[in-house]
């Protein structure tokens, strides 16, 4: 696997790390630069007497370095991969030295142990205790939801036109109460709705849309006994009730496939908390999947995903209707036999979207791939013109990124992947129109969105 400069820079946990890495690019700073099939490693002369040992397990890529930095990957790891991207000839092929080989071996061992653990029957949890915990949580949610229902009714009785910025604080405390009631998903929806008050033209319609959908969750809670298991799972997700990962790895729906990385983005949530979306599509199954990860304090993410690359893996999907969210259960050495069917048929994105929403109306984001899309600017708004039709999606993208996408298009169509939130399309990756599946994108969203 070989990464481009842009792909490596996209892995940097922040701009400072990227800049520091660029300062280490002279091959003279690296007494050792080498690679094997699975790994790249190098020794970087720092200010101390002993050089830092940086290494990358290419199956991830996963980085490791002997330097004391808490950033992940650190500047040495990034610089190592940048050098590899920019002057491959500086590297020699070789057998990993012990400090690399031992780490690779321990990583393989850990992966095997994890697999073995997953295969074992889970230690029998105490069903009575679990049921009691669930019942307690439902009780608190019931109380919170009753309060929220009354509060929502209050808002509609007084009318949305009377809302102004002075109400935002009250909405914030309502959101906090939902977190106290162990339904953080509701709190998040209230916070997002509060941000709409007075924001831009037509905000009352957008606010009504949000509050209406919030009401449907509120309505579902007291009726939960009548819901199917899958709908109940969707409801729990909407309430922000986290899944137990170990249980999920045992019970979840598993799909083994060759997964194409459609695109990814990182968003700053609260200060220092970064949320990463990685969107995948199975080559044989056609199934789309979302890997959702979090990182604190600019540390970055352990395993990197390269947009446009493919990886054979078993994914374990969260329960629910039309579930997108999944966990990486197992990486496979060999790709499963590819089916004849192509997963790249994008003619029916609208149909796919309608089915997804019908199956689970609480799904906040939907992935979309447009085979022939032209980015365009009209007035103050960016648009994505679709398939040569007069139709276009309003596009949400930082100005600098949007101009880059324009530069790659030149007015001609691109294949564009992105997230649709029901109002705006946020592009994450673009390929030349007609580029082969698994080829490197011409553009990918970089950096952390705030």
């Amino acid at each position: 696997m070989s990464l481009s400069t842009e792909a490596v820079l996209a892995l940097a946990p922040d701009d400072a790390s990227a800049k520091a890495a660029k300062g280490l690019l002279a091959p003279a700073k690296w007494p050792t630069l080498a690679y094997s099939d699975d790994a790249v490693w190098g020794e970087c002369q720092g200010s101390g007497s002993k050089p830092y040992q940086a290494q990358v397990d290419l199956t991830g890529p996963v980085f490791r370095c002997s330097c004391p930095s808490r950033k992940f990957p650190c500047k040495h790891g990034l610089a190592l991969m940048l050098l590899r991207a920019q002057s491959e000839a500086s590297f020699t092929a070789g057998t990993p030295p012990p400090w690399v080989a031992d780490w690779l071996a321990s990583r393989r061992e850990k992966a095997e142990k994890k697999e073995a653990r997953a295969a074992e029957p889970a230690a029998a949890p105490d069903p009575a205790a679990a049921a009691k915990r669930d019942a307690q949580r439902w009780k608190r949610i019931d109380t919170g939801v009753q309060e929220l229902a009354r509060w929502l009714d209050d808002q509609t009785q007084r009318g949305l036109a009377s809302l102004g910025s002075e109400q935002q604080q009250a909405w914030g405390s309502m959101a906090a109460r939902m977190v106290d009631a162990q339904a953080p998903g509701l709190g998040q929806r209230i916070t997002q709705a509060a941000e709409l008050i007075g924001a831009g033209e037509g905000w009352p319609a957008r606010l009504l849309d949000r509050l209406g959908r919030l009401q449907l969750i509120v309505d579902a809670v007291p009726r939960r006994d009548t819901l199917s298991a899958a709908t109940l799972a969707d409801l729990r997700t909407a309430l922000g009730w986290p899944q137990d990962r170990d249980a999920l790895l045992v019970d979840g729906e598993r799909i083994s496939d060759q997964w194409l990385v459609l695109g990814q983005c990182t968003d700053e949530r609260d200060s220092k908390l970064v949320e990463r979306h990685v969107w995948l599509q199975g080559r044989a199954s056609g199934r789309r999947a979302l890997l959702l990860d979090y990182s604190h304090g600019g540390r970055g993410f352990e395993t990197a995903w390269i947009s446009g690359s493919e990886r054979a893996a078993v994914l374990c999907f969260y329960p629910g209707h039309a579930s997108q969210r999944a966990l990486l259960a197992e990486q496979l050495a060999d790709a499963p036999a590819a089916s004849a069917g192509s997963a790249q048929d994008t003619s029916d994105e609208w149909q796919r979207m309608a089915q997804q929403i019908a199956a689970n109306p609480w799904q906040p984001l939907l992935p979309m791939v447009w085979a022939e899309a032209v980015p365009a600017r009209h007035g103050d708004q960016w648009w994505l013109r679709l398939d040569a039709a007069p139709q276009a999606l309003p596009m949400q993208l930082a100005t600098q990124e949007a101009w880059q996408l324009m530069a790659h298009s030149g007015g001609a169509p691109l294949r564009v992947f992105g997230e649709w939130d029901g109002e705006q399309f946020a592009p994450l990756t673009a390929w030349a129109s007609g580029a082969a599946v698994g080829s490197a994108p011409v553009w990918a969203l970089a950096g952390v969105r705030t």
């Binding site: 800049k19 660029k22 991207a85 009785q157 959908r213 919030l214 019908a358 109306p361 365009a376 007069p390």
Partner: protein, 516 residues
């Protein structure tokens, strides 16, 4: 979905004042669902219906229609794109955070190698040109067809919008950017000066002031008596910049009516009394001055007094040769004489500007020699140095540098100002400067000398490429302060980027001439 709008109306007013609207006219399963909601619990009814409709709208979303685009698609590029990843990264880095000189060098090297910028660097390059006018001359030729197409879509990049670079001269004149039009005019001035003048004269009345001044300046190429009429007319232009350009150009035509008039104003003020020349200033403003772009009103913040202000304007517009012819003194002698005059400031400032306007090398040398002994006018030194051909310029720098290299900071600052982007001091001087800097760094001067840190980065971007090895691999220590560490690593990045850029160039083109 009109039901949505009626729901929205009620939501805005509030259900306390307006009832929840009935789901009339809605057919099928969805209509039934809304009816059922209507029949259910009263609390939350409005939002429940709105939620159902919102989900329906979402599932059945129809993207808005956009009028079909008739904007042209970007033309195909004939020039190959820069592919080398290390060079791409170095140019990206320079554009994002490097000094202007480095940006210029990277882009110029790429263009000289017959390449163009990759698509992903176009917005950054166009932004760099938006921020710094000096880098535009390197940005525009590196853009290629795709970049020109992109610039046309953003008002901030209007400066780069132009005709296709593959178009003929007439099209580039008719549709080109200011840079392109200036290039067309300058090129034509070399072969057909009269035709170029006519081309400009036909266009001048429609142009904004900034473009009038810029294009008028192109007449400096091959200037002759035939240009007098057009230039004379521009002395009455509304814009001060245009008047000044016209005045400066007319100075190069000593037989012109303008020059004759100015000399006639000045002559009675310079008198010989008792064997010595005596300078006077005008006693009162002359109404005839307005034909020669002389401003009787002294600007508010002008440091000269009123009479000195008048004299200065006359001196600025008088050909330098008039002084030597009239007094029989050499430029050096005149400078010595002027230091004793009451009107010293007006004379020096006027001469300095006249030297810059007509690039008189002998006067320039004399003025610089004078400045070596008179440190009062240092602000001019850099600009004057910029005028000289390199060998004559560097003679002054060597004096400044001193045997012990103690003047290295000043010389680099002067050279920075004197060398246009794309130019370097000579290889010999560069080696001396780099060696002097390296000695200071190895001696540990960087630890406390904040100016030296700045100078180090400037030197890395400025000096001739053959001297860069002396600035590579500067000694690092474990206990560097963050400021020192960042100065050293910035320097290392600049040196590395320039070494990469020079790999693009054929080795013979790296020498440079004096500023044009």
């Amino acid at each position: 979905m009109s039901h949505w709008n009626t729901l929205l109306q009620t939501a805005l007013v509030g259900t306390a004042r307006q009832p929840v609207p009935a789901a009339e006219g809605m057919a099928g399963e969805f209509g039934g669902l809304l009816q059922a909601i209507q029949g259910g619990e009263a609390q939350g009814q409005l939002l429940r219906a709105a939620g159902a409709v919102a989900i329906g709208r979402r599932a059945g979303f129809v993207a808005p229609g956009l009028s079909p685009s008739d904007a042209p698609v970007a033309a195909a590029d004939e020039r190959p794109v820069l592919k080398e990843p290390a060079l791409q990264a170095a140019i990206a880095d320079a554009l994002a955070s490097g000094p202007l000189r480095l940006q210029h060098e990277g882009l110029a090297a790429l263009t000289a190698a017959g390449l163009r910028l990759p698509h992903n660097l176009l917005p950054t390059a166009l932004d760099a040109g938006r921020r710094a006018i000096d880098v535009r001359s390197a940005v525009i030729p590196a853009l290629g067809e795709r970049g020109l197409w992109l610039a046309a879509h953003n008002d901030d990049w209007r400066y780069a919008v132009g005709a296709s670079e593959q178009a003929d001269a007439q099209t580039r004149w008719d549709e080109g950017s200011l840079e392109q039009r200036r290039a067309v005019l300058a090129e034509q001035r070399r072969s057909e000066p009269a035709a170029a003048r006519e081309r400009l004269a036909a266009e001048l009345p429609q142009l904004p002031a900034k473009e009038r001044a810029a294009l008028l300046g192109a007449l400096a190429e091959n200037i002759g008596p035939d240009d007098e009429a057009l230039l004379d007319a521009q002395l009455k232009d509304r814009a001060r910049d245009v008047r000044q350009v016209a005045g400066e150009l007319l100075q190069r035509l000593p037989a012109s009516a303008h020059v004759q008039r100015i000399e006639a104003f000045l002559a009675p003020l310079l008198l010989q009394a008792g064997g010595a020349w005596q300078m006077n200033a005008p006693e009162a403003a002359d109404p005839r001055w307005k034909d020669d772009a002389i401003d009787p009103a002294r600007p508010t913040h002008e440091s000269l007094g009123e009479r000195a202000w008048w004299l200065y304007q006359l001196v600025r517009q008088t050909p330098l040769a008039w002084w030597t012819a009239r007094t029989g003194m050499t430029p050096a002698a005149l400078l010595g004489w002027a230091t004793k005059s009451d009107w010293k400031d007006a004379l020096f400032r006027g001469w300095n500007e006249a030297i810059l306007a007509v690039s008189d090398v002998d006067w320039c040398d004399a003025m610089l020699d004078h400045h070596h002994t008179q440190y009062s006018q240092r602000a001019w030194v850099g600009q004057l140095l910029a005028l000289l051909p390199r060998e004559r310029r560097e003679r002054h720098w060597l004096i400044e540098l001193g045997l012990a290299g103690s003047g290295v900071q000043n010389v680099i600052a002067f050279a920075d100002q004197a060398c246009a982007p794309g130019e370097t001091p000579s290889a010999e001087l560069s080696l001396q400067l780099a060696a002097a800097l390296r000695t200071r760094v190895e001696r540990g001067d960087l630890a406390n000398d904040y100016v030296l840190r700045q100078v180090l980065g400037n030197a890395a971007a400025l000096l001739h490429a053959s001297a860069l090895h002396l600035l590579a691999g500067l000694p690092r220590t474990a206990e560097e302060s963050p400021g020192l560490a960042s100065a050293l690593s910035d320097t290392a990045r600049i040196v590395r980027a320039r070494q990469l850029f020079s790999s693009l160039l054929p080795q013979s083109t790296s020498s440079s001439q004096g500023r044009p």
